[in-house]
Amino acid sequence: MAANGSNVTVDGATTTRRRPRTANGRSVRDANGSAAPSGVIQSAGQDLLPVLNAARGNVDGRATAITVLTPMRWWGPPLLRMLFGLTSLTGLGLGTLRRLSFIHYARWTIIDRLPPKGSPAPRERLNHSYLFFESNFNGTWDQYIDAFAAVVPSRMRVIWGSSFGFPGPLPTGPFKEYIRRNEFVANHYYTAYPEATTTMVLSSLELEARLREFIDRSARMNAGEFKRAYDRLLTSVQRCL
């Protein structure tokens, strides 16, 4: 856990981000007024702490990290395993993710049990499975959540619908609060190309392919032919520059 209490600035915009807070031995209550045992992070309505030191938190250059862990109802894991299995096998649904053109890498992991603590300590038992979601994207946290909610609301309902407390993606206000409650801040975050957005990476790869093809194709052209072909190349790769 990183230091609390400062603002994050990404792409010139300053946003205050919040993270879950442990109850530190206090008995806390959930949104319905039920008492939760001490040591459990409180749900809605608590005094959430603002986050964070940008340099040591979820931001590296243009890249931002999201780490979310949500408790699931019993029927969530089999449903999501089926859905994700189908997506992995057929690629169905990946096109929708690609429309969110600011995501570099993302993953969903269903955690049914915690790894061993080693003899003689017993493995910790969980009452619920947890859905771990990680994303590496460019842009601000708010932009990310807004876009996710606007572009793939039905898919989000399927993925997080079995998670306790999920309010639905729209309106985004309660949904953002939900993510903030269940989000953890990176203590160390690294990206290999912090200067690049996802679009820049994809544009560069496209440009490179076209440029290499042009280099081969133009090798035997005279100056006039070269100039005409070069101008056509520029037109075709303009959006990649």
Binding site: L94, N136, F164, Y189, S204
Partner: protein
Amino acid sequence: MANTAGQATALSVLSPIHPERLESLEATLAALPLGERSPLARVATTHFARWVVIGQLVYEGGGQKPDTLGSPYLLFTSNFDGPLDEYLEDLSQLSFREAHAIWSHCIGFPKGKAPRQLIDYLMSHRVDTTMFYSAYPRTTVAQIRESLALRRRFGEFVTRSQALDPSALMRAFRSAFGGSPS
């Protein structure tokens, strides 16, 4: 399970932290240099990686039975090129000092200082990824960096070559990017 997407691999490691060593671990992580000086940068196949301390699980109510962790957990995730064994081999060789300093705060971490023990510990605390997505699953870090550099170079060339006549343009282009007839 979907620990791979194209040539990319997802690794998640979840390891219990000695509660009394939590502050020391947080200080160790906070002291790591960032960016290209990060120990994770030494493994050149790493696209994105993070260490996150999970202090406690969230209680949302609404029928959820609270889960109270007996100790905090350290989550490490990485998105990298190639197979897992090669990545762990590189991590344990090239960033051993920092990796050992970090995971030695965790319960069950071996007392020895052999890179093999670190690899075995990470493997035994691995969590399989259910769904893994990459916007460019077939592209390595090296290819991306090369491609970004080429894009920059070509952009500069376009700007500075605007006034050149066809012959000078062709010579300048071939000088910058190759493609002369052999």
